[in-house]
Symmetry: C3
Subunit: 395 residues, 3 copies
């Protein structure tokens, strides 16, 4: 097993190496289909063969042709380069055949970089790194998604024009909810949503639980620990401005039951919030969905925003009912009425972070209200499995 | 007051710091409106409040959000960041309120960079720099615009794809008039325009008046000092080519009265020519407009070309008559029939100046005919208030 | 004559200096027309005067104006800069006239870079370099194009998004024919085309003829020397995949007569294959066309793909018949049904070659099957006339 040194979050413009990432939805790659993927600065080709998905680097060893320009497969399990016919095994990338040289000493020796894939719960996970064996997938995802009896509906996958860390830093931080104050989902819920939370103390790291033992590494926040702010008064030059949550916690029959929710942000780039989203107007107990999302690095300036919802179900009928409910109602309310505001906020912060000669984080003004981001960065810096360098620095 | 060292013109790709620049027209920012501006490499947000225009840097101190993506103002005089609600005073950029931390020690201490604004004569002038107090606006504009009784009509504001110095170098240089030889305005005037002027001596700096004392710094050229060229003969390989001014100074009843005109180029990037533009066919005495224009740096490869005309008026009726005359007739004749050629010339010179590893001016072949540009560069290098570095080099 | 040191092929991202290149078709520049050209990183302006084509650098010496933005010619043989009227001789670039200074000491001394041009066989060849006198054009083109009695039809000129060397490396290399296995031209011919050729020995340089004496420098390959592969068997994981040439050499009445063909790749960037292309179904003897093509560098990421066909003709009628045949039938069959696959292969290899910090060739896996590319690179590195640096490194 490769020894891997944790890298500083501030340096991880392309993400962390040696972790599992969601690559795409299972439904996006059907039997026999070949798909491309750019992730953490690497270009990858995927194919589903006999139900399993395989992945190799999208570049021929011989002269650099990008297979994806015209992928050829003369057997289910092989990939042939359009240019000179070099043929590789999808399963491990090994060179199987050179048409112009059946006795080529390269056959059986040369190997295309291949990527471990685990498919689970309707998602295709890919391991970007060099560790062999790979760490378990369950170390890179918060619990509640992979387990038996959980049904998962992956329902959003979007390219966002910001570095992945801008999204991760605000994933479930309780002050950024300011952006959601007038979102459609809030009006659907008709429940008060806080505008912010007060500091939990002078020590910004106070109040957050970190996960540094076995299993997924990260941090949790029990929203019930927050002291919510529902009203902000701005006094300036004799004028008074009021910002109020759309619904009044004193008159609207109580707040959205955030007190029950826990948000867990874990390496490499995933967030879990639960219970979430299924609140009916007048029924704040919720339907018990758990929200999972990821900010998967594409390159230094873009990430992929992936969302999946999970729920424990008893049988196939319950699973189908959940699919119907999520796809025909919540996906619209949740993304158009909530998450889209996060995308706006993240993209509008990219200019500041992308500025020439500017190291991540240097120009911020963080204080005791930023315990969430400070805790996350500290945990992420300590427990990741290495800095991403495309292809591990290989040519 | 900050000590400011003049910078070499050759280095000033982004312009000179600590000067006043026209930012926009007054009519472009109405009461309550928020507008963005990129100028000298800085991103700025402006708002008009109770008639006055205020300007702050378009980037939240906290985590870098660009306010302009969704500007929020809960009182007339405050700007609230969409992301976490940090609220600033438009007037001086000071932090007024942090929703998540009413007692935040940052309040009253942290300050967004704010920009001095003076509005005058229908133009919004902004000070890009660090001096406090700022030098008077009148030191950065040639006389004849700011004074009482002068009515000004700003009527053109265009992004041009060239460095601002390419435009400034040719602002009113009497050899570049070659480009205007067949312009529509010349045919409207039906008056001879020279093609060039002969050298005023072997010393290229001869013949230009520099302004290096109190007030605006720059140089002037009295067009009457020029020895005009109305006809150029090209002899080559037995062929003869003639370039003639569209109208013959010997037969057309005398030249356009350039002898009366004075062109003044002054720091940071403005040109005044007067009397200008209002010549009627058959009435070369002119109507006494004074032409002002600016080449305001946007970034290294673009500038904003701003034009305003000024005239002394006695009353509101005269002012209105002037507005009508300029907007319905001269703006078309002057820009479409004259200044557009300057834009063509400046944009087509950008490739040479932008070439990698090429320092401004190095590949030119300047001689005694280039006194104008040589004098301007010398004066500009000597009297500017410092090199522009975005945000004064602050993060 | 300038002493010129051969440069390494690996360094020649912009091509080789001091060679003749096809600039355009004769029919693309009519009498009096002015055209622009970007070639080997240089920007050039061309004009046809009294039947002859002249070329100068597209940038005024005085202040860098790109003449092409508005070219002015007051005599047939002169070019006048739009900006300040500097006038140059098309023939040698010498400064003829400065409108503002008839006595300018620059006149007769300053010189625009001018480019030697030779027009032949419907093609305009330009010399990019500093040698004077220039080497003969016939040293930079394989025989069979320039000679008396040869009629040439130039019929394709396309910008391709790859470095020129990617195209040259595969020009007529007999393993890349794999890409043509299902091309339209093959089905038109109804003749077997090999998929690859077997190694000609363990020494990859074996089997190719190099031309290192007087005349064009390069290498030849007699296709008849190849041991063709018509069938490839892929065995992997118990599956068998077969790749077969579209037509069977054992049943289809013999192969396309490649045995008669010779491919010659020569400096700077040209390929000749003959006899080529005119095969009629059922008449494999061919009509005796010789195929010429070039990969002319534009910049580091693009080249121009130029094709011309040549044939010995006895009279004007035969020449006309050839023009008709090539333009109305073969140009479609040949490009759409064959060469377009080369463009696909070359463009899809560019990403690998353009990768940051990656020197040309470093990541390839070359072996004994790559004798063609290895031989070509060795000969090209040894016999070129120098590395291209735009304008010879002059400002």
């Amino acid at each position: 097993m490769t020894v891997t040194e944790p890298a500083r979050y501030e340096d991880a413009a392309l993400g962390f190496r040696n972790h599992w990432y969601p690559a795409m939805f299972s439904s996006d790659i059907r039997e026999t289909e070949v798909k491309t993927l750019r992730i953490l600065g690497e270009d990858i080709l995927l194919k589903r063969v006999d139900g399993r998905v395989y992945a190799v680097r999208d570049e021929c060893l011989h002269r650099g042709f990008a297979f994806s320009a015209k992928p050829e497969c003369y057997t289910k399990n092989t990939l042939t380069c359009y240019f000179h016919g070099f043929t590789y095994a999808w399963k491990d990338g090994s060179l199987v055949c050179v048409p112009s040289d059946p006795e080529s000493p390269l056959v059986g020796k040369a190997k295309l970089r291949s990527y471990p894939i685990i498919e689970a719960k309707g998602l295709v996970f890919i391991f970007i790194g060099d560790m062999d064996p790979t760490p378990p997938l369950s170390d890179d995802i918060a619990s509640g998604l992979l387990e038996d009896g959980i049904h998962v509906v992956p329902w959003h996958n979007q390219e966002v024009s910001s570095n992945w860390r801008i999204a991760a830093d605000s994933a479930s931080e309780l002050n950024h909810v300011f952006i959601h104050k007038d979102d459609g989902l809030i009006h659907y819920w008709r429940q008060p949503l806080p505008l912010a939370e007060l500091p939990r103390g002078n020590n910004p790291y106070e109040g957050f639980v970190t996960h540094e033992g076995p299993g997924p590494k990260g941090m949790s926040d029990l929203f019930g620990d927050a002291i919510p702010v529902f009203e902000v008064k701005i006094e300036h030059e004799g004028e008074i401005g009021m910002i109020r949550s759309a619904y009044d916690p004193r008159t609207e029959g109580g707040s959205v039951p955030f007190g029950n929710m826990t948000a867990t942000l874990s390496l490499p780039c995933g967030l879990r919030i639960g219970p979430w989203g299924g609140f009916e107007p007048g029924d704040p107990s919720g339907t018990g969905y758990t929200h999972f999302e990821w900010y998967v690095p594409i390159d230094e300036n873009r990430h992929r925003y992936v969302i999946a919802w999970a729920k424990k179900v008893e049988n196939e009928n319950e699973a189908l009912a959940m699919e119907h409910d999520v796809r025909t109602r919540w996906s619209y309310l949740e993304y158009e009425g909530f998450n889209r505001s996060d995308v706006l906020a993240n993209e509008a912060s990219q200019r500041a972070y992308a500025e020439r000669g500017y190291a991540f984080g240097e120009k911020e003004h963080l204080s005791r209200i930023d315990g969430y981001v400070l805790t996350w960065r500290r945990v992420a810096s300590k427990h990741n499995r290495g800095l991403q360098v495309p292809y591990g620095g290989k040519k």
